[in-house]
Symmetry: none
Subunit: 214 residues, 4 copies
């Protein structure tokens, strides 16, 4: 199990790391994931191929890293800017009106998913994660799950406030809200709009069955 020469990360060139991230994201955006190659990234970044292979195990890993870095930077900026993020990464607002809060957040999510700039690499990464379990786990753990936890938090708060039934499992509830958006985005079955986000919230909150009082 010789680790086969672990490179010394203290001597790693930050300049190269950044250039590789940038080149990878740019190329995926321009020509798509499939036609993005390690050689192409290296050439574009002005970097030797070995420098990529030394630090990443695969093309997908490079891209993932680039994403995580971007996400981290954005989070840092958000935190720096102080305020609670909307569609971003920070926290779901709690105005007391659960429906309104969820619609706000899910509309922001819709906008984020519909953003042309990030769509290609995002899809590529998701697709790769679907096929490659290890990468998928990383994707979920680092990018998706933190977001989902925000919903858990918000829903628990709503339960505590009596706005959501106590026998609801927040994890299931959150998937009822999030999954339909993901579904439309990934599979492109129907357009992903604000109206749809609203409808999802309304249907999920209200349920399908006739209400006793109605």
């Amino acid at each position: 199990m010789a680790p086969h020469k672990a490179p010394d990360s203290t001597r790693r060139s930050d300049r190269s790391r950044r250039a590789i991230h940038d080149a990878a994201l740019a190329l995926v955006g321009e020509v798509g994931y499939a036609r993005t190659t390690i050689e192409g990234i290296a050439a574009r970044a002005g970097v030797g191929k070995q420098t990529i292979y030394r630090w990443w195990p695969s093309k997908a890993a490079v891209l993932m890293d680039a994403f995580l870095e971007t996400a981290a930077r954005q989070a840092a900026e958000a935190a720096g800017a102080g305020g609670a993020e909307t569609g971003g990464t920070y926290e779901i607002p709690d105005t007391g009106d659960l429906a309104a809060d969820l619609k706000l957040v899910l509309r922001a999510t819709v906008d984020e998913l519909n953003d042309a700039a990030t769509e290609a690499p995002m899809r590529a990464l998701a697709a790769e994660g679907i096929v490659d379990p290890a990468l998928g786990a990383q994707f979920v753990e680092n990018l998706l799950e933190p977001q989902l936890q925000l919903y858990v938090t918000r829903l628990r708060a709503a339960q505590d406030a009596g706005q959501v039934r106590a026998d609801i499992d927040p994890r299931v509830a959150l998937e009822l809200l999030i999954a339909p958006l993901t579904h439309r985005w990934l599979l492109r079955t129907l357009p992903l709009t604000h109206a749809y986000a609203d409808a999802v919230v309304d249907h999920a909150l209200g349920g399908l069955l006739p209400r006793a009082g109605a």
Copy 2:
């Protein structure tokens, strides 16, 4: 457009077509989608590479075709066998108990998705469709949408019977039911079980908000 010599499909070898389908499915199952090559499919099928390139534009298209063929055959058999399918392709039962009917069908879906035999090619196809819009559209149109329509039908019947509120949009409702399963399957966030299917049905039908009468 691109005339580029359309081959004469009346002279196409059915033997080869079938062999290619079989080889493609077998290889994807055995070594995974990424390591399945056109060359490998051709060799396994005992066929010239050109025969694949003559009739399909890509590896994904071959696989899609193989799936459609399989699905069509199963549908034909199901129709021949007469009965209403459960997890299959035919029809959602209507016993009058919507929750029970949905749980039955969704549990079957869970089993289908968890089937080790079809998982690899199914994931591969889905992933490819996520990145390639044309393929994705074909995937949705031919494999997914027909299934979804069954839910629309069943939900409308439930509405007519007063078991579902009239202001519910069946399309949205169905996505509330299906999307969470798809979500767990594609992203592998948490295990996809019968219990989860049941929970989804219960949460979706009942809604998150406290019921007036409760």
Copy 3:
């Protein structure tokens, strides 16, 4: 040793045969021998590939046939025109002046070899014959040897007339005259000119050694 279905040559389409010859010669002239393909010949001749494979064993054979046909036609025309040919195929003149007669014929040969129109296919055929003994034998027997025999005849006549030494072997003598031209043409060592033809005749007739009487 079943001849594997000998085709019935009485039912052969003369139209196709000619079209194939023409297409073959045209293509070799236009794109060169190497880039001339059986498929290309068939397409150009408006003929099925099988029609070529039915009657010829190889691309070279088609070309050879085309040449023989052309040569035969020219010979027929020459014979019809009555006169003795010069550089052609018929007969070497005998004016009593051997040197002059040979120069006349060899100059005509030079012109023939330098003819741009026939050069490409001629070279191709020669080259193919150099590598493929069977084809080479055909080439020699049908195209070259008949020409060489004319020299034998003329040289014997010269011997009979006392213009050439009796101990000369006409076969060797003829090769002394012809081979240098062929050599320059095939290997492109130096330009192939009338002056060279004359020089070859002079050197061969006079020999290299000092003449006793000189």
Copy 4:
């Protein structure tokens, strides 16, 4: 011109170069030129195809290189061995008896041409050079012309010694001697023997015309 990335020849692998030469010569000898493929050479040499394409433009060029290398090595060995070569590459002997010297050398040439081991690749190269002017020029310049110059030297010496007429053009004379051998070898008209070499020398030296003193 064609920038197209010139490879850095200082980093070229000598091991590969040699292996490719050897494989090429071996294959041409074993299966003939036409059935020798780049792919086959690469496989036999244990080399990637790209390594061949990186350094040579064509199969013929590989073979030519292999020949030149072999010839150069033999020349070096001959030079090292010190002595004057016979059929080889070094020098035509001058014993004062021109006829005998020429017969010696031409007989050696006959043996060389009849050598079964080198015949196939030699013919292939010659044939390729006949069709491809660039390759032919290389063939002539590097392999043929150096040999021919030896004859020029020897014939001039003979002229100086009064053994050959002063009005003889050594270049034409040499072709009178060499071309007939080449002719028989390339076109396989008649067997190429020592006796023929002798006859060519005798006919060329003595000439065809009756000698004054005879």
